[in-house]
Symmetry: C2
Subunit: 420 residues, 2 copies
């Protein structure tokens, strides 16, 4: 089965937003084995929307549009869809009720214009909105199907997940596309590709894709088969071999974030954690606490951006500050020990370095030291991070979380410069 | 003049990446007065690329494609463009030299296949690449122009900025599009629209667009005129009136972030800042230090995620913890005072609350208290933030930064619940 996506909205043509809806939809259609051969984007213009729908219907079995279903005069997808179907719009009281109830619940007065959203092309169906007030519309035109969905991403996703994808999965029949994402850190994308590429010579099932960013590399394996089970059986041995080759660089075989994985390990070990941060300004703690339930193990973080606060809050010694300085193994170690003492934590991790853009006390941007301290662990590790300020901070957090992960998993440090 | 954008790449149709190129190009074409009426996306398939180019040429004066210019067999835009133009490809020695030189400089051996990138449709021009090895191609077909650019964003931008936009600006003649973005926080998008909408009745020059997200509302004014100066003259009075109506809710008339604005105000006032955080886990400090040069005024942040650390690190009293509890005006105030003392700062801001998803000690998710403390200021402010964990954290940071901004600007607190 093949499908086409038609994005409607002048804001897309003005570049005010990216067509992220098309990406999300394409990804999820691919997963159920639907081929997407074209995307189109048109503005809020009824004639051009009709033309776009006709073109899409001439080459795809299923057409999915997003946008133009709001209550204001520039929302014209409803009219265009009715015109393309040669049907007139009829007001549906069931939708009117939904819209009235939405406004009543929010305690707001309903503008009369909102009832336009209850119009459905005759002969068509609608998808009841759970969030917004715009229903999705479903119309058959010459044996082909058009779904018109709202442009608000959350409302589009709700209808894709609740209606469109399940309906199409039934139509595509026994085709299952299964993906597994392995996530690695501390290793370059080109090195990952070098280590794995021969596995995928002469085979396209499963396929492999590499995606690098934010200090990690995702390896995505995708297999297609008659059933989910068969697709999984195709992936399992390859995934096993990939994991064997990449070894400790892999921190998740289930597309879980590094902070989530570290949280899981801390909870399993029954250990508490504190942080000491400098160049990351608090982002390490923010990432760890972005996962619900972090209060089970996370006690706090001392963000010490000055020499004075490193000394007074964390107890870094004058000798260290005047000798090796703030970006050193010694300073990172004393910061970690200080944070552990301050918060009474089982484990502490510290980060200090120069984020850039300028050198910091003679230290080049990108130079970072990481330390962890605990009853049975005392490790220091340098990092030379590439890129701009944001990238250096991100890589530093990533390396600190990875050091924690390896410690909690009882795994050795990655190769490369390291003391202790 | 109108233009159409054709994205080429199977990765776009599989949803592996979003078509961010189309957004960037659309935005920059709009700025020089070029109307974009359609986007298309097709895969790495020569027939479909030819069809897409023909369709685009049938309705646009200028067609710009991205992608498919690499050296591997799935890169087929060159062939498709030649087919659409009815021309054959000729190898251009000038480009061969560029490619050879790129490889030599990187100390890498050049695969013979890379020389395919030196092929240009006969009668066409090329755009010399500064970064990559793929030249852009420029072909006239029946009096209309096609630019074929690489899909790597940095390479596409380099050629848009260096060649395509300047050439089209000459063709569109004296048309300037100027935008100004005013940023507000602490006010709902619908309220902003209500307060401003009558200004834009019966006029489309300047136009207005509202964009809400992350606890703020952007108001974008765009004017079109023969010259930049004239366009600016059209915007100035409207921008002035918008600022007058929205008053203290506007924190920037120059599209600057709230953390940047707060940093500017602190630097101008010669004051230092410390933070005390709970629900945000360090994100407030991370945002403040995301701006280079934050070490001029930012001393540090105490992220205290537990009652014990609030007591021991920040000196929050037992009476407060056992009475009103951690999510209270009292606790926020004592946290701010504690952070100010701990870091020896002129000003301190504190955030405490329940981020969710679950209630926290009987406090509903979204309930937040903010405090600032300084020699001449002592303010507390409650916030009821909507949405999920991420959104609550973001709104809390936003409200804390805004409280700081208003204090530094000597402005009153926003209306709504507040003590002190």
């Amino acid at each position: 089965m093949n499908a086409e996506i038609v994005g409607v909205g002048t804001e897309l043509l003005l570049g005010q937003i990216a067509n992220s809806n098309a990406q999300w939809m394409s990804e999820h259609l691919a997963e159920i084995g639907v081929d997407v051969l074209h995307h189109q984007v048109v503005g809020d213009n009824p004639d051009r929307i009709v033309e776009a729908l006709r073109l899409a219907l001439s080459r795809a079995e299923v057409v999915i549009s997003t946008g133009g279903l709001g209550p204001t005069p520039d929302d014209v997808t409803r009219e265009a869809l009715a015109a393309a179907a040669g049907a007139r719009l009829t007001r549906r009281p069931e939708i009117e009720d939904v819209i009235r109830e939405r406004f009543a619940r929010a305690g707001r007065e309903m503008p009369q214009s909102n009832l336009l959203q209850a119009d459905v092309p005759e002969g068509g169906r609608f998808i009841r909105p759970e969030r917004g007030t715009a229903p999705g519309l479903v119309v058959e035109i010459e044996g082909r199907r058009v779904y018109a969905l709202p442009g608000v991403p959350a409302e589009m996703r709700e209808m894709m997940e609740g209606t469109v994808l399940p309906e199409l999965a039934v139509l595509t029949g026994p085709t299952a596309l299964v993906s597994r994402v392995l996530r690695c850190t501390g290793i370059a994308e080109s090195r990952v590709a070098e280590m794995l590429d021969d596995l995928f010579h002469g085979t396209t099932n499963p396929t492999v894709a590499y995606l690098a960013g934010g200090g990690e590399v995702k390896v995505r394996l995708t297999a297609k088969a008659a059933t989910r089970q068969e697709a999984e059986a195709l992936i399992a041995p390859v995934s096993g071999e990939v994991t064997r080759r990449l070894g400790d660089f892999v921190f998740s075989s289930a597309d879980v974030s590094l902070e989530q994985e570290v949280g899981r390990l801390l909870r399993a070990a029954g250990k508490t954690l504190a942080c000491a941060e400098s160049l990351t300004g608090g982002e390490l703690g923010a990432r760890i606490t972005s996962v619900p339930g972090a209060s089970d193990f996370f006690l706090g973080s001392a963000v010490c951006y000055t020499e004075k606060s490193k000394r007074e809050v964390l107890g870094v010694s004058r000798a260290t500050l005047e000798g090796p300085g703030t970006v050193s193994a010694e300073c990172a170690g004393e910061m970690a020990a200080g944070a552990r003492r301050l918060f009474g934590a089982d484990l502490a991790v510290a980060l200090t370095g120069a984020a850039g853009p300028d050198a910091h006390g003679g230290v080049e941007p990108g130079q970072v030291w990481i330390a962890i301290e605990g009853e049975d662990v005392s490790r220091r590790r340098p990092l030379r991070a590439p890129g701009d300020r944001d990238m250096v901070r991100r890589w530093a957090e990533q390396a600190a979380l990875d050091l924690l992960r390896r410690h909690l998993e009882g795994k050795p440090l990655p190769r490369g410069p390291s003391v202790t």
